[in-house]
Each structure stands twice: as C-alpha cells, then as structure tokens.
Amino acid sequence: MTATQAALDRVTRVPGVRGALVVSAADGLVVAEQLMDGVDGQAAAALTGSLVGRLGRTADSAGLRPPAFVHLRGDAGSVLAAPGPEDLVLVAVVGPDANLGLARLEMIEAAGRLA
C-alpha cells in the first residue's frame, strides 16, 4: 500500500468523513481519491487547492509560516486540508457530525507522510 493510499484509508475511517483526496495544490488536480457517492472530487481538488494557496499567501503576508491545517466550515459540513510535502495537500470533505478533532489529528499526521 502506498503512503498516499494509507493516508486516504486513515482519514476515511474517521466517522463523518465523506471523502478524502490528495491534491496537487498548484494545479488543483486530483492525485488520488477515496470518495463517497455525491462528492465531486474534481471540484474539491480545484477549489481547495485554490483556497489553500490563497490562505497560504495570507499567512505569509502576516509573517507566519505556511499553514499546517485549514478548516473551512459551512452550514452542512466542512472542508479540511492538511498541506504535505512537494505541494501535495490532503483534503477531506466531512459532514456536520464528523469527529473534527480526530479527523484533524489523522490528517496532520498522514499529510506529513505523503510522498
């Protein structure tokens, strides 16, 4: 099992996670995915890649180091993102009842092992 697949497995096992994917942030393209029905991987990759890039520039302009974790919260769920090495980002789309604390911990650890 590759590191990418292992990362996706860990994250998708967290209750409430509807899908996880590894994204090339600069391109906004899917590298690998594990999604439930109804989760648009192409959109998640493109939109999250763009947003994480913008937020990284925001952090930089504030004199901060690049983000280790991003959480975009909506009415009906959230998008979580944990940047990894080589411009890869681990992204999860979660429902409103997801165990966010566990998802966050799993994602931060798994993102660090992406290659």
Binding site: L47, L51, T58, A59, A62, A68, G74, V79, G95, D97
Partner: protein
Amino acid sequence: MTDDIRSLTARLADEPGSLAFLELAEALRRRGQLEAAYKVARGGLSRYPGLADAHDLMARVLSDQGDLAGAFDAWSSALQLDPMRTSALKGIAFLYFRAGDPDAALDHLQRAMEVDPDDPTIRQAIGRIGPGRPAPAAAQPTAAAAVPVEPAPEPPSRTSHLFDGVEGGERGLLLVDANGLRLGGELSSADGADAGDRVAAQLAGVSREAARATRLLGLGNWHAIAIECPDGHLVLAQSTADTVLLASREPSVPIGRVGLLAERAARAARTWLEGQS
C-alpha cells in the same frame, strides 16, 4: 432501565426523526450512561445540525466525558446559532474557569447576566469565581464592558471604536472589505511591523472564494475559516456580505477560542458598520 428512558427510547425507535433524542440523551447523561448519551446526541445532531439545543446537549455530554475541547466547540456552535443561549455562555465560562482563565470566565458570565438577569445561578457562579470582584448589578451594561449580543444593542456613536468590548481590543483583528481594503483593526507581524494592509490585500475575494467552495461542494453557506500555522492561528469570519473579519493569535491560544473571538469581533464589526451608515 427506568420508565422514562424506556418510553423515550421506544418513541425514538418509532420516529427516528423526532426531537425525543434531546430528552433521551439528557436522561442518559444524568444517569451517568455517557456513551449511550453520546450516541443518541450524535445521531440527533446529524439530523438537526442547525438546532442549538442539540449542540448544547452534545457539549454537556462531552464535558461530562472529559472532552473539554469538544465541549468548547459544541457550545461555540450553539452560541453561533443562538447568541443569547445562556446555558452555552455558562458552559464556556465553566471551561475557562477550569482552564485557569477567570477573566474570560467572568466575561462570559457577565454576558449571560445581560441576557438573563434573573438567573440566580449566574450570580452564584460570579460570586464563586471572583469573591473579591463585585457581582455586576442587573442593570444596563456599561459601554466598555458591553459585548454585542443579538438583538443588537444601541448603535454606537460616531466616535465609538470598532472593537469596543472585544477581548484584546483591536490587537490582532482586521476588518476588511471585498476589495481588500482595511476598514479597521491592527495586525503586526512577528517583527512588530504593521502587516494590516498587506494581509487585507490578500483577503480580497476570499469570502467569495470560500462561498464558492462551500456552495459547489454542497456544504451551504460558509461561516468561518480556521488556519493553523506553526507560529500562529488565524480565523476568518464573515462579518457582513461585503466584509470579512480576521482574528490572529499566538499558537498557544486554542483555535476554538480564536474562533469564538473572531465571531464576537465580527458581531461588533457588524454593529459598528450599521452605526456608520
């Protein structure tokens, strides 16, 4: 199993979508059956994510289970849905007190007092936390101590400041319009230089991009973006349709607390903007 739990369980089994989960989970919690209470509360919350009662219930269960961070987040969600929810204000005050921050605890209890001056438990809690501090009279709050609670208080005068009453004042807060222009607040980088305008420029369009992302991914409207960096935390909250509020704190401040600060500052900003028009 007592009769009430039995009958509530049967009712929930018959109608899984009913609100009986609120009573059932609370009854289980009071009996100490926390795991069962958690499962019932979680199931109900998944059906009713917009119900402040459900978040409040979950917070009580998590607090009893010792998951204080989870309880904090759940009470924060309850407050976002219902800013006048005294049980959530009291709950968060309790957590701050447990965390060794009596000032923040008192701040939340005072807000609860403003909402419900007749609740004796609030006065008791204030008395317990600060025996040397005078318990505030149940009168109108002073302008300096007031934290805006819906419905909005009197519009501020034109000389009033944007973040009056918000913890820390303007420090680490930025109010930005849709064009990336700073409307108020101050933000410094680690070397002390003013970073406000630079950061504001980066935030141009972020509200639109966040709204687009949540909309196209079927997540509804966006509420907040939390950004955890190794050397600082940032939280973005929508203040009005055309403005966004950024709160920045050191990494030692829990991200949930930064989120709460951002929400409060966003509300203060809304009130100030209404007063400017």
